[in-house]
Subunit: 135 residues, 4 copies
DNA sequence: GTGGTCTAGACCACC
DNA sequence: GTGGTCTAGACCACG
């Protein structure tokens, strides 16, 4: 499971962490019953304040993704994977929708937007089997 | 020229205003030498505080998009359109890139992402002729 | 009599006009009993709003430099030259003092400051008999 | 590090604060990696509103002098000292130039100006050894 | 009427 | 505790 946060994003760090844990559970990298990394460990790995991680965990608990195991850490709940797959879709879709809404409102032509999207799409996963751009 | 802001967005309102003016100038809706709406007028139209609009104008001045006409308002600079077309591209691209980066990090499959994007793309401008020919 | 205003100065334009009329009277370019340029003429010459000039004249009247001649314009008062020579000295000295106080507070070395001053002094009146800088 | 602002100056308070922080960094009183005084502390010390200080900090960030440390304060950037030495020179020079331009435009004789400058120069740092050798 | 500055104080995100 | 954003409203300089 890879975590990374971007300090310069307008999205709060704790929210980024929430998303990433959700993504991890949705993808099966974190399975029900398994412990997620501790607050301290994750804080150190991400170079953020432990309180920030703690806050993310609090939110994850609220969402029913993880549950505290007294004294041992936080564990992924049985319903976690199902919840997270739905939430993942929602998160990603909302962000994409917002970006495209803005693009449209910018009065860029649909073709320009399509071009930008394709550009970035191939940049983002350049490791895939070659050029995604249609001929 | 249509302006609208979303108070619940993580993007500060003053930044939304900055973007929208840039879009307006880039699109030619606001031309060099013409006055942009006044602080007070725009504040009233957007239902935000005049100070918030003033802050956006300050940033637009810093970016060389508009210049104050003492006592008369803010005027689009001669270089405005050129600057703004570049800045528009940057703004839109950055937002799309961030959304796609997140999508990739969510471990959704590239095909799922492509599908989401196409979905939203056609939603955003449903008036276009369908799904945009793709091989 | 040369007038010029700098729109980008933090000093209000009307105050710049006040200073320049005072300078003109102090230098003898405007003599007691002579009419100073009309609001409209000066406004046109300086490319500023007539109201701005009117405000400057109001201030000059308050300072006893000029007096209105019903229907014919503003004339320099008998005491004008004397008043203005004192005021000129005060204005210039105050501005120089403020600049130097700031320079000292900037922690630039006295030699650096002296160098800057000499630099600018020779720039400002390059038309004088050669280099003012001491060997 | 000493800060002080003059509320009656035509120079906005927030700009005075910007200059003073730049002077402090240029002089080495504020070093890279060190925290500058907090918004609230500085506001209290200068008897101005915290928002005014915040605005100055925003400008300093834009100039690459300081960078925010989320939740901990504002830190002087690595490039700060270099940037600031240049900016200090620019600030001081601009102010001196403006003062001298005005002096010249006042039609005071060059010798009178020189005398005024020397007067004030020795007043400003009277603790130095006299009138500064001039041929 | 315009924008610019300042004060005042709220709330938020983060540490 | 920190800075960031926003609202609110005052006053000023300028046209």
């Amino acid at each position: 499971m890879l975590f990374s946060v971007q300090a310069d994003s307008p999205i709060p760090i704790y929210e980024q962490i929430v998303s990433q844990v959700i993504f991890g559970v949705a993808a099966g990298a974190l399975e029900p019953g398994s412990l997620i990394p501790s607050v301290r460990e994750l804080a150190q790995r991400l170079l953020v304040h432990p309180n920030t991680v703690a806050r993310a965990f609090q939110e994850l608990e609220r969402r029913g993704v993880v549950a505290p195991l007294r004294g041992r850490g936080m564990e992924v709940t049985p319903d976690g994977p199902t919840n997270c797959r739905a939430q993942r879709q929602d998160i990603v879709r909302a962000r994409i929708r917002a970006a495209l809404r803005e693009a449209v409102s910018s009065a860029l032509s649909p073709d320009d937007i399509r071009k930008l999207v394709d550009d970035e799409l191939s940049r983002c996963n350049g490791q895939r089997r070659g050029k995604e751009k249609r001929s």
